[in-house]
Symmetry: C2
Subunit: 252 residues, 2 copies
């Protein structure tokens, strides 16, 4: 029997991933290289924060203890967050931003495709809602990977540097936690290990086309899904949660 | 008759100045150019945070409403902070850091010298305690202003850039608020306008010796002492107050 607690944690993981990556993207607002791209990145941020709300609401419902989406987003501390480490890394430059978006997004769309048929109907419904937006995000980021990867010497170098930095963080996408193993065994969620091959092939092909080279030697990072985070997450939360922490229960 | 409220606000101003500048200095911990300077900056930070405690404790006593030094440091929002704007500006590079330290510190020591004879005995006592440390801070920063101002072309340029940025923020040192005017008229605190000339002379002499030129054209900034701050203060408080906001009443 699957404890609600495990589904709750898994839904929180999906919510946290979107919220934290959305927050990082929102940092570009007013700082984009052109106004068109500025608003494009801000729109991606809005999509992701919107998606996180769907999952926080569902998580609150599963938990059934009266906590709201706001409580879950704004009143948990670092160790309770379940996002992949890649989402919390500092904003970086534009190359870093679009490449992270692509790496995360191509994993997430692949994962949601498989989640569509989950026996937990609600998980399939939410995945379907998110997929449409994420597929657009993916096209957006591939366009930029090509433009910058095949652009000038400088833009190519920036993309390659970003890839060298980001690649080790993709390892975590394919490492189920102990709690996820139980959900996988109950056929409630896809086994992330199974989608590694497909993801890897399409990813390598996109990167190769942009003449970027996946680094051969690197460390693999993980721990985010179990609450072990980089130092960066604390600073995000300090800033993002200030209002609710300072004025508890504040409403408009 | 001088309302306690005005003395309270003035003491808070002294406390906030030291806390916020101390916080900025503390950001160098682990990032100094050499280990000796790293620990030197961290020691200045400790001195200033220590001084802020003396003033917060005194402010809490004046207020007499049961708030503690921790409440005053960690549970007030931006608009209630009374520090000079210069103290909240981002850390900057090493040139910026030592020059800010000098500009602020040379004003503060001059001001405290005059405060020694305040008819509010406690204010004189606290000023005397702080002066000894601040005089050391001043010597420390003058040494670096000379070394960098007269050093290489690059170090000189960095110092001059820092001076151009910082100078407009010194204006605020010499603008009493309406509340301060009342304390001045009651001879409780020195008139900051009166010490401008002495400060200016010694300052210009130190800068000239380091072959630095005070910018002629600039905007003058003010507002910090009345709660009108730059965007930077909010980020400082978000980070600095996270613990007390998140775990109210937390003790070791």
């Amino acid at each position: 029997m699957i404890a609600n607690q495990q589904v709750f944690q898994f839904v929180l993981h999906l919510a946290d991933d979107s919220l934290i990556l959305g927050h990082r993207l929102s940092e570009w607002c007013g700082h984009g290289p052109t106004i068109e791209q500025d608003i494009a990145l801000t729109n991606l941020a809005l999509d992701l924060v919107g998606q996180s709300r769907l999952y926080y609401q569902y998580a609150a419902e599963i938990e059934g203890k009266g906590r709201t989406e706001d409580d879950l987003a704004y009143l948990r501390d670092v160790i309770e967050f379940r996002n992949h480490l890649i989402t919390e890394l500092p904003r970086g430059d534009f190359a870093f931003t679009v490449l992270r978006q692509y790496l995360w997004c191509s994993f997430r769309t692949e994962f949601y495709q498989h989640l569509l048929t989950s026996s937990e109907i609600k998980l399939g419904e939410l995945a379907a809602k998110c997929l449409k937006e994420l597929q657009y995000h993916q096209r957006f980021s591939i366009t930029w990977i090509n433009r910058l990867g095949l652009g000038t010497k400088v833009s190519h170098e920036k993309m390659q540097t970003a890839l060298d930095e980001l690649w080790p963080y993709t390892f975590e996408f394919f490492q189920p936690t102990a709690a996820e193993e139980k959900l996988i065994n109950a056929s409630l969620i896809p086994d992330c290990r199974d989608i590694r091959k497909t993801w890897d092939q399409s990813c390598q092909s996109v990167l190769r086309e942009a003449s970027l080279v996946v680094p051969q030697e690197h460390w693999d990072f993980q721990g985010g899904k179990e609450g072990m985070h980089t130092e960066h997450l604390g600073y995000i939360l300090a800033e993002m949660q200030f209002l609710q922490r300072t004025y508890p229960g504040l409403v408009w």
